[in-house]
């Protein structure tokens, strides 16, 4: 579980040029981490590639925070 979070944190930190330590589960992509709609779409692509999953559109719309992303990824991995 923490392994997924760690990987997600490093992907986000790299993509958004933020400190990995600031990428905590409660942080909002748009309000706290400065991501816009293009960044979010790019991040979803990176998650898909990193975890070998495909994130459905409706799933994406519910992702507001880093924690939401981690939960969605865990769910998709479990369903694989």
């Amino acid at each position: 579980m923490s392994e997924i979070l760690e990987k997600v944190q490093s992907i986000i930190a790299e993509k958004l040029s933020v400190n990995p330590a600031d990428v905590t589960p409660e942080k909002s992509f748009s309000d706290d981490l400065g991501a816009d709609s293009l960044d979010t779409a790019e991040l979803v692509l990176d998650f898909e590639n990193a975890f070998g999953i495909k994130m459905p559109q409706e799933e994406m719309e519910n992702i507001i925070t880093v924690g939401d992303a981690v939960n969605a990824i865990e769910k998709l991995i479990a369903e694989k």
Partner: protein
């Protein structure tokens, strides 16, 4: 209506021979070639394996990493040369009316490299589309000016011009016109190009447009020389700050020179080959002179298109002969491309920087690599082949011609009240 006068108050340059205006100008005076082996890709199987690349640049020193990810290299280059030009202009960005500031940049090819890279990855993959949402904003050329307006909040006219190797000349011309007509106070203008990639080198090779002097590449860009065999691909950007004269005077700006005329024609001869009689190229030079109200004999120096292609250089000389007649022998002539290579759409912008430095310093940079002038070129013309030439420089023409038959001539002059 009376046209407003337009002056240049800031410059930036990012070129294969220098990454800022001072280094660029020093290199031009010293006759430094920017040519080297291609490093942007593995050129082993290509007919041409050298080019004039930008060297020693760390883009992260200028643009945040996150923004870089959204920009093709050509947009990054334009941003970096614009940052230099704006700083050089001394404009107080807090005080100017940004609604009256526009951005017009020329680029012949735009973000083609990003398109190519993305297509290659797609084809090499399982063909399930995983395109980056950043892809199209990197490919589309117009975002070059879009990024600059976004960074600085310049909300005036904003677009790019595309006319192959004359692109930046059209951008600079449009910028001049808009200020002349009172549609803007300041236009950030110039050109950018970053297309040293497999398809551009391969494509230009297929057209036999590039030099293939692989064993002696430092002497490959040799405009007007009898042994020239094509142009050398370059890359980079330059930015000029064009400003309404009274706006510049009111803020006590440093003035490099005045832009006072443009001529534009089309060859209507062939899609790539220049018309051998140079008729339309001559017409563009004449129109520029008329536009500026300047007589041919008042011109001191022509920064020529001079790409080092067998046909192009001859056509341009014929056109100069027919426009300037006897005065052609008295002109100082040179080709910046002998050192920078051919920056395609950005060429007219980096060459305009050289022109304005010439007006400022009364010195004209050399054309390097001329060993024996092509015998079809008048042998008494002065291409500054021996080194830089000191001479009063008050009126200068810049010629740019592009595939497609585009001809553009710009006229610059020393600013005097």
């Amino acid at each position: 209506m009376e046209l407003q006068r337009v002056v240049i108050t800031g410059m930036g340059a990012l070129t294969p021979v220098g990454n800022n205006v001072d280094d660029y100008w020093d290199a031009l005076l010293k006759g430094v070639s920017g040519t080297g082996p291609i490093t942007h890709f593995d050129p082993e199987k290509f007919e041409t394996r050298f080019a004039c690349e930008v060297k020693g640049l760390t883009v992260e020193d200028f643009i945040p990493k996150k923004t870089i990810a959204r920009m093709d290299l050509c947009a990054q280059y334009a941003m970096i040369s614009t940052m230099e030009a704006l700083e050089d202009s001394g404009l107080d960005l807090e005080r100017i009316n940004k609604d009256r500031v526009g951005v017009i940049i020329g680029s012949g090819i735009g973000g083609f490299t990003s398109m190519m890279d993305s297509a290659i990855s797609f084809i090499a993959s399982d063909r399930v589309p995983r395109f980056s949402p950043y892809l199209l904003i990197k490919v589309l050329g117009d975002v070059i000016s879009g990024h600059i307006s976004l960074k600085y909040g310049f909300s005036g006219p904003n677009y790019i011009t595309s006319a192959a190797c004359a692109s930046a000349a059209n951008a600079i011309g449009d910028a001049m016109h808009l200020i002349q007509l009172g549609k803007a106070d300041i236009i950030v203008t110039g050109g950018t190009e970053a297309s040293i990639n497999e398809t551009a080198i391969g494509g230009f090779n297929a057209m036999h447009a590039l030099s293939t002097r692989n064993d002696d590449y430092m002497h490959a860009s040799r405009p007007f020389d009898s042994k020239r065999d094509g142009f050398v691909m370059g890359e980079g950007a330059a930015t000029l700050i064009l400003e309404r004269l009274d706006h510049a005077l009111a803020r006590g700006a440093k003035i490099y020179g005045e832009i006072c005329g443009i001529g534009m024609t089309a060859d209507t001869y062939h899609i790539t080959a220049p018309a051998p009689d140079g008729k339309s190229a001559a017409a563009s030079m004449r129109l520029a002179l008329q536009d500026a109200g300047i007589k041919p004999e008042e011109v001191d120096y022509i920064n020529m298109h001079g790409t080092s292609t067998p046909q192009g250089d001859i056509s341009e000389c014929i056109a100069i002969q027919s426009t300037f007649g006897d005065h052609a022998r008295k002109l100082l002539l040179n080709s910046t491309k002998s050192m920078t290579g051919h920056l395609l759409g950005a060429g007219p912008a980096v060459e305009s920087v050289a022109i304005l430095k010439s007006i400022q310093n009364n010195i004209v940079h050399p054309t390097i690599n001329i060993e024996k002038l092509d015998e079809r070129i008048p042998q008494d013309w002065n291409f500054c082949a021996q080194g830089p030439v000191q001479h009063p420089i008050d009126v200068v023409m810049s010629n740019s011609f592009g595939f497609g038959g585009h001809n553009v001539s710009l006229l610059y002059k020393r600013y005097v009240e």
